[in-house]
Amino acid sequence: MELYAVLKITWWLLLGVLLIGLAVMVGMDMGIGAALRYFGRTDGERRAVLNMIGPHWDGNQVWFILGGGAVFAAWPTIYATAFSGLYIVMLLLLWSMIIRPLGFEYRSKLPSPSWRNLWDWGLFVSGLLPMVIFGAAIGNMLLGVPFHFNWYLESWYTGSFISLFNPFAILCGLMSLLLALYQGSAMVMNRGEGAVRERARRLGTWAGLLALALFTAGGFWVARLSGYVVTSGDDPAGPAMPLRKIVEMVQGAWLHNFSAYPVLWLVPGLTYVGVLAGVWALRRGWSHFGWWLGALGWIGTIGTVGAAMFPFMMPSSSNPSQSLTVWDASSSQTTLLWMLGWTIVFVPIVLIYTSWAFWIMRGKVTPAHVEGNDHAY
């Protein structure tokens, strides 16, 4: 296989890793934000819950920023087409996300109940909406998005904003929200005590089981969807030029990879194993174990989408032959190679100091602890 093709596959896998990192780490924080008023009934409890992720939310959010940056660097055509095509959705995502830093940092700075309630609802919106949009975006990728290019590759989006919130996309959005709630609950169990921990156990159980139900429903739905198949002309080592291939829409095509390589069925299997075992672990009170099993569930979910769609990344429903695939939407070989170098050097370093940060801040967070702390949120 040629180097360029290998690099493209590597970056497709790395994108998967980043999306999983984003889903697990940012999803956990957003699940906590969305369910903050459920986890904590009193202001003290809510502050305790916020401070469980207080030292980490900012670092976690970088998974999201890095995800955007990596798509820009490694898949510029997708970055440009998706962000501009889904304009209104992207802005809603952005606006809900920028409330979050202020919600964390400003909420507890004033002792007024209405001030704090306002930011609680801000955190609710900035937890719920981004996770729904994240899942809905992936759902829309499975359906295909109506866009096309002109001869010099300017992209035109021809759908409406409302059509992005179709039933299938909403199902994916809810599933993503539920997994985030699960992950957040596991974290709150890790670092909470008493009633807060009990509520987290209940929410985590229900969120996990419902997520599996939606995952199953989504699976049957996908089997009946029109998938996309490259019928000619997409060279794995070819230049990043998405206008020179022919693609057809075939019902059930998203299962072709699974029938060609039955071993791939293990990937959705991971979701079931992870979440079911995770729910069991949460019931037993082994929340740390449950947290890691939830991460496994995310790996299975995002892996399933990737396995179904490969080599497609962003299919076009209005002009299927101009769909964006792993082979024709990437950066040049030079850039992919350089970026891989930086990734190999820096990702281990990041993982080391992130783990160190979690280790330093380990332990239970209680309302009493928060009252006595100078910088607490």
Binding site: D58, Y79, T334, E371
Partner: protein, 514 residues
């Protein structure tokens, strides 16, 4: 055409407004992080608790500012794709890389350690916490490094080549990208401008405390450290600004024209316009006060180099537009058949001027039918808005030198330990807090408005960089940004002032709810 113009204009307004807003918070983060590290260094080496109090108090103000910097930074990451998608696709191969590395190398470092810095005081040794604070400072400045590496590419794109098969710019040398002179000078200039911002902020508030005889021990020490920090940083900003002007002026004659309001090419040594009222329409200054013979040595370091005025820049642009047309025409052929040898040869021969032909395309959609009047209009567009850039530049320089002067005097008085008796000096301090912020915003305008009408200088015109949106989309997003950002700045300013007034000793920051 009319609606495209509106979309381009609104997209520019939105980008400029959100970038300038973001840039209100960034410089303070860049500088205050290192100033906090300096305070904590004294705490760790001498063990005096007052320095920990200082680090904690200024750290609280840092946190209020930091949250908004993070929030508004997200917008910047989105906006290249949402509003400038043709730009993103065209240059993503080059421009995306530093942005991704920024996340990987800088944001992770800064954001992971900032949590430990705020929450970890009692959880680790003094030495480790000091290291954490330094990592925050390093991380925030590294993020400035990478975004300015990306910006350096927009200002002088020499490390990329257009690939007619993929219809975009592709990276040729990563080292050239990082070590471009423009990126280097601009990073140092911007980072150190942040140091001055933090110094003026801390000195201003400390001066205000001393004037009211509050928190004297903390204020005196903070003032001393800020003044010393700031005076050296000011010297650095000014010398690097000069270097940046030299590099940028060489790479972008049109920006230099605008900075100096120089419409006509003059026999060297040319005079320096201290004050001018430029008229873009008439291409002359309605009024000017000039120091003779000063400009040429300032800008070229010689007495006899000719500096091209607007007339010369426009003439050269017209030549390049004409020369670039065959390249654009060849592209159309190549898009259908990338192996067409004659078209490829035609493209290669005119490649270096393709950007100028693309600029002309806005006025003459059919390039083969371009009239002299079209050339004339396109050439006029090569000169950015002179009045705004000329005055922004002077405001920035004036603010820079005022701060240097003030901080110099402040450092002198503080070193004599007489600063608490110099009431006028203390009274002046809070009034100077806006100066660095104004200078930073003005500097952004000079650098980025001065780059117009290009997003990538000489290669990709701004009008071709926008997304294919309807005006309605832009109205929606602009309205949203105005509403949200206005609410944010009110909240931020309220909290900032509240905690400044409250001062360091007034108990805990996050009071429990009763």
């Amino acid at each position: 055409m009319h609606s495209l113009q509106t979309v381009v204009d609104l997209s520019r307004w939105q980008f400029a407004a959100t970038a300038l807003y973001h840039f209100l918070f960034v410089p303070l983060t860049l500088g205050l992080s290192f100033l906090l590290a300096a305070m904590e260094t004294v705490y760790v080496t001498t063990g005096r608790k007052i320095y920990k109090d200082m680090a904690l108090f200024w750290g609280k103000l840092f946190a209020i500012n930091f949250a908004l910097g993070v929030a508004t930074g997200l917008t910047m990451e989105f906006q290249f794709g949402t509003n400038w998608s043709q730009y993103s696709r065209f240059v993503g191969d080059v421009f995306g890389a530093p942005l991704a590395i920024e996340g990987l190398m800088a944001f992770f470092l800064e954001s992971t350690f900032v949590g430990l810095m705020f929450f970890g005081w009692d959880r680790m040794s003094r030495g480790k916490h000091l290291l954490v604070t330094y990592m925050v400072a390093l991380g925030s400045n590294l993020s400035a490094l990478w975004i300015l590496v990306a910006n350096g590419f927009m200002q002088s794109p020499r490390e990329a080549v257009f690939n007619p098969v993929t219809m975009r710019l592709e990276l040729t040398s990563f080292a050239d990208l990082i070590f471009s002179g423009d990126a280097q000078a601009k990073f140092v200039h911007t980072s150190i401008a942040g140091y001055v911002t933090a110094a003026m902020f801390v000195a201003g508030i400390s001066g205000w405390y001393m004037l009211r005889n509050r928190h004297m021990e903390l204020a005196k020490r903070s003032f001393r450290m800020a003044a010393l920090f700031g005076v050296f940083a000011s010297i650095g900003v000014i010398s690097l600004g000069d270097a940046l002007g030299f590099i940028d002026g060489g790479a972008q004659p049109a920006k230099l024209v605008a900075m100096e309001a120089m419409w006509k090419t003059r026999t060297p040594p040319a005079g320096f316009n201290v004050i001018a009222f430029p008229s873009q329409k008439q291409q002359r200054n309605l009024y000017e006060i000039q120091i003779p013979k000063l400009l040429t040595p300032l800008v070229t370091r010689t007495m006899d180099t000719v500096i091209p005025g607007a007339d010369e820049v426009e003439n050269q642009a017209m030549v390049r537009m004409k020369d670039g047309i065959p390249a654009v025409l060849a592209l159309k052929t190549l898009s259908a058949d990338p192996t067409n040898q004659p078209a490829l040869a035609q493209f290669k021969a005119h490649e270096q001027d393709m950007g100028y032909a693309l600029l002309l395309k806005r006025y003459a959609p059919d390039l083969r039918a371009a009239t002299p009047a079209d050339y004339q209009r396109a050439a006029r567009a090569v000169i950015p808005n002179v009045a705004v850039i000329f005055w922004s530049f002077r405001v920035m320089v004036l603010a820079g030198f005022s701060m240097l002067f003030y901080l110099g005097v402040a450092a002198y008085c503080s070193l004599n330990n007489r600063v608490q008796d110099r009431r006028w000096l203390l009274k002046l301090a809070p009034w100077l807090i806006p100066a660095p912020f104004i200078a930073c915003e003005a500097g952004w305008l000079v650098a980025e408005m001065g780059r117009q009408p290009w997003t990538v200088y000489g290669v990709l015109p701004t009008w071709m960089s926008v997304s294919t949106h309807s005006v309605g989309y832009l109205v929606f997003s602009l309205t949203g940004f105005v509403l949200i950002y206005s609410a944010f700045i009110v909240v931020e300013a309220y909290l900032m002032l509240k905690f400044i007034r409250k001062g360091p000793d007034e108990g805990r920051l996050a009071a429990p709810l009763h």
